[in-house]
């Protein structure tokens, strides 16, 4: 029972971190139709910039400055790169971000080298907040939860209560009409892209110390961000939140409990074949939930796409 509570907290942290990445991406994706493969690279840049800044000015300045720098970079990429490619269609845009991801990883290696960076949790937060039957919850995790929730509330407020948010929402659905009404849609695109990448950068800043700051950190994150926004439904902030938390909890619980395929199959009435070690399906029978925890989101995504292509909270298909 205690472990369940601990896992709930851990899953929440994972999910909220994922949310910070997917929130920006879902806006970018639904507004511009860009599958931004470089999104995770901006997350990496956030961590590296924050590390560099923290060497000189300390962690807190890193937390403040790094996302802004990443956001400006992102806006620059949109203005001088994506906007140019946009006229050619979606596939070239995607290849552009693909190449960009490759390039950013190489740049990071060029500048910081290939080793893991010693970017660590600030001293103020480096203590155990509380422990549940031996499992300590580091204070830094509480801090992460706090930041992510603040971001979510902030985003929700801006999108639903402010004028800018209204225009963004309108541009999401009817970009041409919004443009006809005299709004500067390219500027909105650039702004959304900048804010989206800044959020990714912020996620990198706070995830870097716990998940490691190394050139492969964007690759490890991989395409899970796309999975999140597809499950949640494109363009839906709530969808992104729900899907992120869902993925966070599913993977955490699958890893925490060793559910074996054999037990599952036996429970639904299929009996174990007698000479299992010779069977072609032996690997299938011996599957455990931690083994497949990280691919569960992909299974979920394929299923959702087959049965509800618009995603959990999505209103349109693509």
């Amino acid at each position: 029972m205690d472990l369940i509570l601990v896992n709930l907290i851990d899953g929440l942290v994972t999910g909220l971190l994922l949310f910070m990445l997917s929130a920006g991406l879902t806006l970018i994706f639904s507004m511009m139709g860009v599958l931004n493969f470089a999104h995770a690279s901006f997350y990496m840049l956030g961590a590296y910039f924050a590390y560099q800044i923290s060497l000189a000015l300390g962690f807190w300045m890193g937390l403040l400055i790094a996302p802004i720098v990443v956001g400006v970079l992102g806006a620059g990429v949109e203005r001088y790169g994506l906007r140019r490619v946009h006229q050619y269609g979606h596939v070239p845009e995607l290849i552009f971000t693909f190449g960009l991801a490759l390039l950013i990883e190489e740049m990071v290696q060029f500048i910081w080298g290939k080793n893991q960076m010693a970017y660590s949790v600030p001293e103020v937060l480096n203590f155990t907040a509380f422990a549940i039957s031996g499992n300590s919850i580091p204070a830094y995790k509480i801090f992460m939860i706090f930041i992510s929730v603040a971001i979510f509330i902030g985003l929700l407020y801006i999108l639903t209560k402010t004028r800018v948010g209204m225009i963004i929402q309108a541009a999401l659905s009817y970009p041409r009409t919004v443009e006809a009404l005299g709004h500067n849609v390219p500027l909105i695109f650039m702004g959304v892209f900048g804010v989206g990448t800044a959020l990714a950068g912020l996620a990198g800043v706070i995830a870097g110390p716990v998940l490691g700051t190394f050139p492969g950190m964007a690759f490890v994150l991989g395409s899970i961000v796309f999975v999140t926004i597809v499950i949640g439904g494109l363009g839906s902030l709530w969808g992104a939140l729900v899907a992120s938390l869902l993925i966070g909890w599913i993977t955490t619980f699958a890893k925490s409990y060793n559910i074996e395929m054999e037990d599952v199959l036996n429970a639904i009435g299929i009996s174990t074949p007698e000479n299992l070690s010779d069977s072609v399906f032996r690997d299938f029978w011996s599957l455990t939930s931690p083994q497949i925890a990280d691919i569960l989101p992909y299974i979920l995504m394929v299923l959702i796409l087959i049965f509800r292509p618009a995603g959990l909270f999505g209103k349109r298909q693509s």
Partner: protein
């Protein structure tokens, strides 16, 4: 590849002009180049070149690299059946080639059966298994195109790639499955011990697959794939089920991917998780796009260029991936038609007989430009060396010159070359543009 079609040879300046820009957001225009009938000549020349290449490059490594190119070409062509011809973006296409290859590896290890068949027909089995998998996956993934298809392909790709380390019985875990091709029945006395024998086997399959894929694009199904890509609704009105058309394309693509996998199995005699993973899937997307999705021969050029980049450039510099990234981004930004699009841009000028007028302006702009770019690359290499080389290890060799990267002089020279090279290119660019417009204007009145 010569393209000539008497029907389109009527001088219609405006029309050619459209083609020059090769606008990929208008696929209908793009595909026109492919829809012209081709003469036999380019095929014959290509075959002759392939047959006599080993006379020029006798060493095994060149053969190995050419084999790798051939495999990538088959794979990229098969991929382009979806992306270029069908407009379907797949993120997990490596699995079809991989599964085909794994099946071939298992056949290689079934000693009794394998001894009874000649090695040359092994890729067919790869193709059949690739096709089988495509039939299963396609049955639900091709229901819709666009993002849904792309995302399902991503999910399925990730799933199968993840299975490769979990289902050890079939995929052999991380170390993969290996075998020995020489146990097959000798084919007219050839046991495929040497690279050169494998080379001829590979190019035979390359030519067969390329011809078949080209012919496929001429069949009604192939044509309907274009139609469905451009306007599925209209295709439906014509009475075609766009879903079935996509499904057929998908299956055919799976078959040729499987062939590529089978060739991989023969060449390397080992298949591992890397044949399935998302990196391989991403690479083939990049290769195809680099070459140009709008033309049948685009992926061929892309595969050649990328293999050289990956295998040969990485021998010369650690930073090869950096250059590859720059190349991709530059291609996408400036030549969205890919390398093939770049080549095909010159077709109108050739037809108007004005291509000779382009040679000098090209030399004037591109030569300094290339030198400038090389200078830039030199600066990048020097910075890298300056930052990361061992202390005291100041010497570096670049373009056959050895110098001290901590001296000022080499930097001055490199910067000067870069600035002058790019400067001249910039200055001469307007006249190139003028010459370009002139060369593409039929009789000066378009």
């Amino acid at each position: 590849m010569t393209v000539s079609d008497p029907k389109h040879d009527v001088p219609e300046g405006a029309r050619y002009k459209e083609q020059i820009t090769t606008d990929p957001s208008k696929p209908a225009q793009r595909m026109r180049a492919g829809s012209m009938t081709m003469t036999l000549a380019p095929w014959l020349i290509a075959i002759l070149v392939l047959v006599f290449l080993p006379a020029v490059f006798t060493n095994n490594s060149a053969l190995t690299i050419m084999n790798q190119m051939s495999i990538t070409i088959v794979f990229a062509l098969a991929y382009n059946m979806l992306l270029g011809q069908g407009g379907m973006l797949s993120f997990g296409h490596a699995v079809y080639a991989g599964v085909g290859g794994f099946a071939c590896m298992h056949i290689m290890n079934m000693s009794d059966f394998f001894e009874s068949i000649p090695l040359v027909i092994l890729p067919i089995f790869g193709g059949l298994f690739g096709m089988g998998l495509a039939m299963i996956v396609g049955s639900f993934s091709t229901r819709s195109a666009g993002t849904v298809f792309a995302m399902i392909s991503l999910g399925v790709g990730e799933l199968i790639a993840a299975c490769s380390v979990i289902i050890v019985a079939f995929f052999g875990g991380e170390e993969g499955i290996s075998g020995d091709r020489t146990y097959a029945q000798p084919f007219f006395g050839v046991e495929f011990l040497q690279q050169i024998e494998v080379y001829y086997l590979t190019i035979a399959w390359l030519v067969i697959s390329a011809v078949l894929m080209y012919l496929w694009s001429r069949t009604p199904v192939g044509r309907m794939a274009n139609a469905v890509r451009d306007n599925p609704e209209r295709a439906e009105f014509l009475g075609y089920s766009s879903r079935w058309v996509r499904y057929y394309s998908f299956i055919a693509s799976g078959f040729f991917c499987g062939i590529a996998g089978g060739l991989f199995a023969i060449n390397y005699e080992i298949l591992t998780e890397e044949n399935l993973n998302t990196t391989s899937s991403g690479v083939i997307l990049l290769v195809t796009f680099l070459g140009g999705v709008g033309f049948f021969f685009g992926p061929i050029i892309g595969a050649i260029a990328f293999t050289l980049l990956q295998t040969v450039l990485s021998l010369s510099t650690e930073l090869w991936a950096f250059y590859a990234g720059v190349l991709f981004v530059a291609t996408v930004m400036f030549f969205p038609g890919g390398l093939a699009g770049l080549i095909m841009m010159h077709v109108p000028a050739f037809k108007l007989g004005k291509s000779s007028g382009l040679v000098m302006p090209y030399l004037k702009t591109l030569l300094p430009g290339a030198i400038g770019v090389l200078g830039l690359a030199a600066l990048v290499e020097m910075t890298f060396h300056f930052r990361h080389a061992a202390t005291g290890d100041d010497e570096m060799t670049l373009f056959w010159t050895t110098f001290n990267s901590h001296d000022v002089l080499p930097w001055v020279i490199a910067i000067a070359i870069t600035v002058i090279g790019l400067g001249i290119a910039k200055v001469t660019a307007p006249s190139l543009k003028e010459a370009w417009n002139e060369a593409n204007t039929a009789g000066g009145a378009s």
